[in-house]
Amino acid sequence: MNKKHENYKELILRLAKTDFKLRYHGSALGYIWAILKPLLLFLVLNFVFSSVFNFKNIGIPYYTLELLTGLLLFNFFAEGTSSGIASLLAKSQLVTKIYIPRWTIVVSSTINALFVFGMNTIIMVGFFIYYGKYPSVESILMFCFFVLLLYFLIVSISMLLAPFFVRFRDIGMIWEVLISILMYASPIIYPITLLPVNLQKIALLNPLAFVIHFAKQGVVSNRFTDLGHILLMTISVALLFLLSVLIFNKSEKRVAEYI
């Protein structure tokens, strides 16, 4: 059966662009919200944790930068996965009325989160400059690699869950709760060193925590974990990605019937 659709790339980009356009459509500030939303959250958290709890005093001079980096990465993950998981249902028309490869729908939704993250990094750069902190080239490259890793994680999770979300809407609720748990299970508002050493190791098994912690360490403190760890994490994400593709290919077949 010939289901060829020649322009995956353009299709994905067009869908993502449309999503992006529609998302801030009708708001006076428009695209600025893409930046403003995480920024406002950051300012609140920053106020609470720098002034009230005052992490700076316990030996984290660049707490603000660490918080910002962690928060943006987390935001990227949270938005990417929740829109990715809901994508098939949100664009049900494209599933039930027409055949386009379904993975393009999932991927385009996550791309949108990548757009937003890209815009947010501008803010990050601004803050780094403001604080006079210039990360090394290696750490920037490492950061980019981590973002890529995180993106693959987002796509994998979305591909795994999107077809099931169509059948079991509970997954949406469960994922919401999981996201808020992950927010606190990852070293975003607190440095991981605050945890007991054993717990630190366990916490870092969580790929999100891993990425956030080491990305933060890289750009803020110019410290890197050993290559073995990164390799291990990369392989795990790659395996997860492969698994998600396999399962997606199976589960997407009947997805049109369940929507």
Binding site: N2, H5, R14, L22, K97, Y99
Partner: protein, 632 residues
């Protein structure tokens, strides 16, 4: 090159070859092939754009386009110099008196190609023109008409004494190619069995009809790597749905259900279905609601997968079932064109290129930057259709798209479908509009309950469907006393009703109560009513008949006919007998009104609430049957 009888014709100067074509049917290609083959004895001649007095000429199309503009005298010089045997060009040029005169004096062959607006009329007049001007002694009464589409029937019907180039198995060949033979008149006086073996097109030693098939194929992009003649080939597919008696889409529901006895039904939307759709076919699918039409389209489009059987699709399928997929009301028309075209597989560059065409076709130039939510539904459809057509897929799937849009746009759509067909592409149309299917589709499929009820010639299939529907509804209306359907009637409820229609009954004066009538039989309508009027009040009654497209067929009332309803008021009913009803196959709705002294005083008005059906035995088309007599 063997047996190219056309050459013989030309060498013997026996016949004038007329090649008449609808736009984009392969006529130009045909001419080009001949001209390119005969290189030096054929000549292209086309008027220069913007100046009809100057012509470009050349022995090949490339040379023609590159040549400098010639005046008509220079054209003749070229013709004489090169012993030109044949001319290929716009008929408007070739037909010009000067060229005809030149032809006469030099006894040469002309192959004109027309670009005609009203193809049939124009073609006929061209042929007449030719017959008058060129039917000279040496043509020997023999004029060969070759058409590259379904025009043969029209031409032969209109023109007696023409020889249509036929082969021995012409009928079969036509059928095989999906051309309709129906309606070809008996005026074809002579059957010739010329074999055109056109090596340069294909090695097949086929008949002229096949030659045309090849010509059409040249235009279709599938020609180069032609895999099969089938656009769609479906074998033994079934589609089963499981209908749970309660829809479970929460996890809890699933867990709870694990322990419950499973309550669901299996439902076959399609059962063991097999059929093929050929390339360049206009294929219709009909059937009542729930017969599996949409499921079938979804399987073709790849939205659903099947458990059993095989689905083979050659070529890119336009992956849409309804118009406007991917359209977003919050975006402007412009953005939506880009979005939808991308979904249909066009690249940004292609869209940029086609954008103006798409807009022009939809006739929405003024509104293109407006948000889609402000569009009317007609505008919506025009835009969507325009995008779909320009997506250039090999197979076009359409689900009830013609139902929306005004008649001029519908015509435009049908024209586009034909263009698709001519380009060797395939249109698969699902519609409840039987006349459209009947009129335009080559073949059709009649589905019921997921099974094939009929497959084949569109007209025959539609007839079978109509018969079946009529039989079904006759069954369900056995009582024939038609209760008043409140939904369709416009009765105002709170009104103080002084008179009320109780029942509308249809009868055949000879056969009694019935629901189904034959064209030409008598129809009696009896309306029972009750009234609470004063004796002094006037009462008038009226009956109107509408067809299922809401066309007003006939309205009568006792005010116009100046009758008194005294007797009816005593009886509590009145009757009307329509003699020899000239209505053709269809469903007809009846409106009954009870009025006072004028039709402004309405006591009761039951709008199209009851209906009867008519079946005609013949194959004619149109709304009414008029007595006619052929003098042919």
């Amino acid at each position: 090159m063997k047996n190219f009888t056309l050459r013989k014709y030309i060498e013997d100067k026996k016949a004038i070859m007329l090649s008449i074509h609808l736009p984009k049917t392969g006529g130009t290609t045909f001419g080009k092939i001949l001209c390119d083959y005969y290189k030096d004895s054929f000549l292209y001649i086309y008027p220069c754009v913007g100046n009809n007095n100057l012509y470009r000429v050349g022995s090949t199309s490339d040379k023609m386009y590159q040549s400098k503009p010639h005046t008509i005298k220079e054209v003749f010089k070229v013709l004489e110099d090169k012993e030109i045997q044949c001319i290929h060009g716009h008929i408007d040029v070739v037909v010009s008196q000067e060229i005809i005169d030149w032809y006469k004096s030099h006894k040469k062959i002309i192959i004109p190609v027309t670009f005609i607006r009203d193809p049939i009329q124009r073609a006929i007049s061209e042929i007449r023109h030719y017959k008058e001007h060129i039917k000279t002694d040496e043509t020997d009464e023999e004029i060969m008409v070759l058409t590259s589409d379904g025009m043969t029937p029209y031409l032969s019907r209109e023109l007696t004494g023409l020889v249509v180039c036929e082969t021995e198995n012409f009928k079969e060949d036509l059928k095989k190619l999906g051309f309709s033979w129906d309606g070809v008149s008996k005026n074809i006086t002579k059957v010739t069995s010329d074999v055109f073996d056109v090596d340069l097109i294909s090695r097949h030693n086929k008949k002229d009809v096949l030659l045309y098939q090849r010509l059409l194929d040249i235009k279709s992009r599938s020609f180069k790597n032609k895999i099969s003649d089938m656009a769609v080939s479906i074998k033994n597919i079934s589609k089963k749905f499981i209908i749970p008696h309660e829809l479970v889409n929460t996890l809890r529901g699933t867990f709870v259900n694990l322990f419950k006895k499973k309550v669901f039904e299996e439902f076959y939307a399609l059962e063991d279905l097999s059929f093929d759709v050929k390339k360049s076919e206009f294929f219709g699918i009909v059937g009542p609601n729930g017969s599996g039409k949409s499921t079938l389209l979804k399987i073709l489009a790849g939205v659903y997968t099947t458990e059993t059987g095989s689905v083979e699709i050659n070529g890119l399928i336009s992956p849409f079932l309804e118009l406007g997929i991917g359209f977003n009301p919050e975006l402007s028309g412009r953005d939506n064109i880009y979005l939808n075209s991308t979904v249909l597989g066009l690249s940004e560059k292609e869209i940029d290129k086609k954008f103006d065409q798409i807009v022009a076709f939809s006739e929405l130039e003024r509104f293109i930057d407006q948000k889609l939510k402000n569009y009317s539904s007609g505008m919506h459809v025009r835009l969507a259709f325009s995008v779909a057509i320009h997506a250039n897929r090999d197979i076009l799937l359409m689900d009830e798209v013609l139902a929306v849009g005004d008649s001029s746009f519908q015509k435009k759509c049908i024209r586009e479908f034909h263009r698709y067909k001519k380009e060797g592409r395939t249109v698969i149309l699902v519609s409840h509009d039987l006349s459209t299917i009947e009129q335009y589709c080559d073949r059709a499929l009649y589905l019921q309950g997921g099974k094939v009820m009929a497959l084949g010639n569109a007209r025959a299939v539609v007839k079978k469907y109509r018969d079946q529907m009529a039989a079904d509804s006759a069954d369900s209306h056995k009582s024939t006393g038609v209760a008043i359907d409140e939904e369709r009637s416009h009765r105002s409820k709170g009104r103080n009703i002084k008179a009320k229609v109780k029942e509308v009954i249809f009868e055949d004066p000879l056969l009694g109560k019935r629901h189904l009538f034959a064209t030409g039989s008598d129809l009696l309508i009896r309306v029972a009513f009750e009234e609470f009027l004063d004796k002094s009040d006037d009462l008038n009654v009226g009956i109107a008949i509408f067809n299922d497209k809401n066309n007003y067929i006939l309205g009568i009332n006792t005010i116009i006919d100046d009758l008194s309803c005294e007797k009816a008021r005593q009886n509590g009913f009145f009757e009307v007998i329509y003699k020899n009803i000239p209505l053709r196959t269809g469903t007809y709705y009846v409106t009954v009104g009870l009025f006072g002294a004028s039709d402004r005083i309405i006591y009761d008005f039951v709008n199209q609430s009851s209906f009867f059906e008519v079946i005609s035995s013949d194959q004619n088309h149109g709304l009414v049957e008029i007595d006619y007599e052929w003098r042919v």
